[in-house]
Symmetry: C3
Subunit: 463 residues, 3 copies
């Protein structure tokens, strides 16, 4: 028996709720299209068993870890860092005793869903049930039906994209292809060889050279190396690139100037401004390559990574200390859009952590330039209120067809159905509100619901 | 029979909806006060017939054009640019086949309203009905009751202001005056002689000189020329000026410094900073003139015009590629407000495309300075959600009386009743929500509804 | 009989309203914890009678004064400035005649509540009742039960903090302690000796020196003087400091550099950049002292004080012309948080006037750093919509336990119960909405409601 209410996330007004139910019923069972996320390719390549509940739900989940840390829990108590707790049961208890901290957050929605719907646990998680649930989860994880490939089938995933370094050999993807050709595809993420501030940037350029046989000591050779790697990714099923930048700045410098900039960057003599300029220039170069090879381009901008120096030094990346900053798009994208914004072969999907840009900049831009699509609410905004604000702020200017559907963006495999379910419920609720306020006919809402749940993502990502 | 639902845009909650209905019933039939917009003065001066549905609804409407372009339609297919399609029926079909793109947008509300309520079309627009509706619209347009002056009367317009270049001779207004004295008034819009980046700025200054007999080669002569033109507009019924600036920046330089700045600007040696400074200084000068001659001042700030260089070069202005940018007001208006912010003869109405300023800056400013009023939600925000956000973000700090009512801001004559109707419905919905949550008595709501629909606009614009 | 509706501020939807009622019933009668506000310590030390309705409700209330001024009322008519009106009845009438201006604002909610619930007036305020209400209020004020200490008891205040200059001798607090030990506590607000732009800054440094016996001509002596004053405040019950800064900028300069900066600041040769840098550095120094002495730190950032030069010159501070500006937090707090953000002895409570930071910066920061808590919606946002936006924007990322409960932040004694009542109603409404949309169980909502009403404030402020 499910612990989740069948009407969760639907509007309170009874008439609107009835319509939302109807729309959701239509899309609830559609296959999951997962065009952007961070699942581990090894899961798909090697189909390993997950070890335990703490490893599955706590230790690697930056949403969970940061919330516990924010309330005084030490990283070490969560199994992170030198001399950390090694007993997963103790880590799980630390989490379960503080599960109330997640009331009202999407993490709680996702974890409740995973426990109840995926793992079949019929008790609510709290300090009293912690041990029983820990044991039940671990017992489940030993069974074949909880291995990644079985979950893929059970979740009704149609296709899933991973996010992979430009330097990755994609070997797990090849092994996955033996199992499910074309249903697990890589994404070209070149931050490690595009961002001069990335750890090991110089060495990465050399690796890029050796992988491609291109001379990365010249600007033209460096660009050619990207083209070569992109072809490598395309041959293994990639349909998209992804770019995680601190800002949305783009540039379109004369090639001679770009070559000089590259020289400074390559030789390690780049100023802070040079680094930003180089990232900006490379977005336009990547867009130009997309015009050639057809890879859909994604831009995730506006996160100040590793805000806490001590957390980064002691515990590394992705520990919940990436904090958004204000992000402008209108001026920032101007160089790129003026270079290639009307190229019919380009699709550029935009993701923001600064919601103020939705109505002010992003919807007007996407409602004009043919290459642009709006990605779904991202990260902190991948939530009930976040999705509501996104639709309310973008639809009136950009409509529905300039959005790119949903993606789950997750590292947590068991949360995938929960995340799609939340999006399908929230979009059904939004559409139902349009219907009861007579801004949309019920017929049109029924036509749009599956677009938002599945079809727009497939189309935008060419999947 | 109308295709529009009588309860459209009203709240879903039945009790709130009943109150909204009652409030709307009170204001639905009030005359339309249109203090700011872009109707063509020739319509009022010469009362021409409109040619066809494509010319009426598609080609000149930047909301419609940009949405179609954003989904891959060529400008040429919309009758715009060299070698463009010339058959209006084909243009209309291109539009009708993609009318679903407008689901959820205000454009669709407006066009549905115009087709159903103004033109009496009793079929929904879609690819199957495209030709029949095209023929029906065109047939209607040949009839006298669809000429501009007849529509003016039928729409129950009380007064309408156009927006006119400072260099305009206002001849159509004089011809309109023979028909309806004082009911079609011009607005003084001096961007062409205030913005050094305006096309033909130098030539415009010479025209200004020859129109006024003032020596625009000196700062004092230039200011005197403005005073002269403003008198010319006032004599023809103007009660307001309008200023479209990229930012809200104002300045109050010492006059000697302003004169030097003007010299640089006039001689074409202005830097980018000079141009911004000159526009900023001129806002304060215009405010000072308003203190003298009583013209109400409007400031529309925050649009990055002609974002796509290629669209501007090939297809010209107002094609949907003006994109908002972040706009600060607190610091920007400081010089002007410190110069004349307490002058009882000044009214300055502010319009923003950056909604984040509503609660943070604009409502606190308008809730303090006696000269300030908040203009209604503008452009992308002239919509159901935009109006809701505006009221929710401004009312608690600025109240109702520091707002300036509604204006339709439109180039599309047939959309005027729709736009006022949307505003009246949205304000009724907002007030009804205050009533059911007991933040306002129903009696007070009934008192406020007509203010928002008509009276505040008349008062703010001195009409 | 109360004029206030018992269901005010509750959601319109009947099912949600019923839940909100139940939650509110639980918290309505809880004692008031008032950890931050601006009540006059003399009220608590000396228990004086209030003079009249105009002094109580109009003249010192910057919310009321600015709104009347924004609609053309002269400060002088409100009893402010040279040659001002001195008859409180006339001032009251000026207010009452324009009481409609406050429709839809929190000021009206608060004043209606104070008149009806605190003073027992059973007529609505309007021009016709102005004189009768004026007389009734004044008659009440002569009675002992309307003196401050009696109101303290009647309001069921558990503890109240005032906000006091670092240079204050806290004598009224000592007299208050005789009456109610530990129930009226001071707060250390050092702006006068931390902000180089504060009026009389140099003289203030000398006063600081003479009060503490520390040599404020050196950086170390100056810091020691702060430590000494903080101890003085702690001995008199203080548990917190408060910092009102134009921006949230912090710095963590090397001490030698900070000492040089202090020299420039002390000698009056500070540039504008130096002043900002010094304030920024002092926030980090204050945080370090909090790590030592345990005082909870509050930061109120983002107000452009005294925006109108002429209002400041003629009528002084706090007249309603402080206007918010954009405020960034992620980069601004970086130096402080990297210095002491993980110190278990630090609590830093953040208040913003820029709501765009809620979801983008403040909730992610508070949902990660253990020292951070989010203060309740502040000033213009201390309202129905402001509270709604705060919860909707912060809960999903920061949860409930990273917020600091409510504080009334008021100078207006009679508004204290109204303000807490509004917060309790709004939070009940918000929680009820989570329950009907099945984002929270009713049981969990019942557990959280008293936290928001009282317990989180007590805990965050160590009261």
């Amino acid at each position: 028996m499910s612990l989740l209410h069948p009407d969760r996330l639907f509007p309170a007004d009874p008439a609107t709720r009835a319509i939302a139910r109807g729309l959701y019923a239509q899309v609830q069972g559609l296959p999951l299209v997962c065009p952007h996320g961070h699942t581990d390719p090894l899961w798909w390549g090697d189909n390993p068993a997950f070890s335990d509940a703490a490893q599955l739900f706590v230790i690697p989940d930056h949403y969970v870890v940061r919330m516990l840390v924010s309330q005084g829990v030490a990283f070490e108590a969560l199994g992170i860092g030198e001399g950390a707790e090694t007993d997963p049961r103790k880590i799980w208890r630390t989490f379960a005793e503080r599960y109330h901290l997640f009331l009202g957050t999407p993490s709680r929605l996702w974890i409740d869903h995973a426990l109840s719907e995926v793992l079949g646990i019929d008790m609510p998680l709290n300090p009293n049930t912690a041990d029983d649930i820990f044991d039940a989860v671990n017992a489940a994880l030993t069974r074949p039906e909880f291995r990644p490939r079985a979950l893929y089938e059970r979740f009704n995933i149609e296709v899933i994209a991973t996010t992979d370094s430009a330097l990755d050999d994609l070997a797990p993807h090849e092994r996955a292809a033996d199992w499910a050709e074309g249903r697990v595809v890589p994404t070209y993420r070149p931050d490690a060889v595009v961002d001069p501030n990335f750890e090991g940037f110089s060495a990465n350029l050399e690796t890029l050279s050796s992988l491609t046989g291109c001379d990365t000591s010249t600007w033209q050779g460096y660009l050619e190396a990207h083209r070569t790697r992109r072809r490598y990714f395309i041959q293994r099923g990639a349909t998209a690139t992804d770019h995680g930048h601190p800002t949305a700045q783009t540039l379109d410098l004369p090639q001679a100037e770009a070559a000089l900039l590259y020289d400074r960057v390559r030789q390690g003599s780049a100023t802070k401004g040079d680094a930003e300029a180089f990232r900006a220039q490379m977005l336009t170069e990547m867009a130009r390559m997309s015009c050639e090879d057809g890879l859909v381009m994604q831009l995730h901008a506006g996160s100040r990574r590793n805000h806490s120096g001590s957390v980064f030094a002691q515990y590394g990346r992705d520990r919940g200390f990436d904090i958004p900053v204000r992000t402008g798009w209108t001026e920032a994208l101007h160089p790129l859009l003026n270079a290639v914004g009307h190229d019919p072969n380009l699709t550029l999907i935009l993701f923001t952590l600064d919601e103020t840009a939705y109505a002010r900049e992003l919807a007007p831009l996407a409602g004009a330039y043919p290459c642009l699509r709006l990605g779904p609410p991202w990260w902190f905004h991948d939530s009930y209120e976040g999705m509501r604000r996104f639709r309310e702020a973008t639809t009136e200017t950009a409509g529905f067809w300039n959005t790119a559907g949903f993606n789950d963006d997750t590292r947590a495999l068991l949360s995938i159905p929960a995340r799609h379910d939340v999006a399908r419920r929230c979009d059904s609720a939004y559409l139902a509100g349009l219907v009861t306020t007579h801004r949309l006919s019920e017929e049109d809402a029924q036509r749009i619901a599956p677009l938002l749940a599945r079809d727009l993502a497939k189309a935008a990502y060419k999947l």
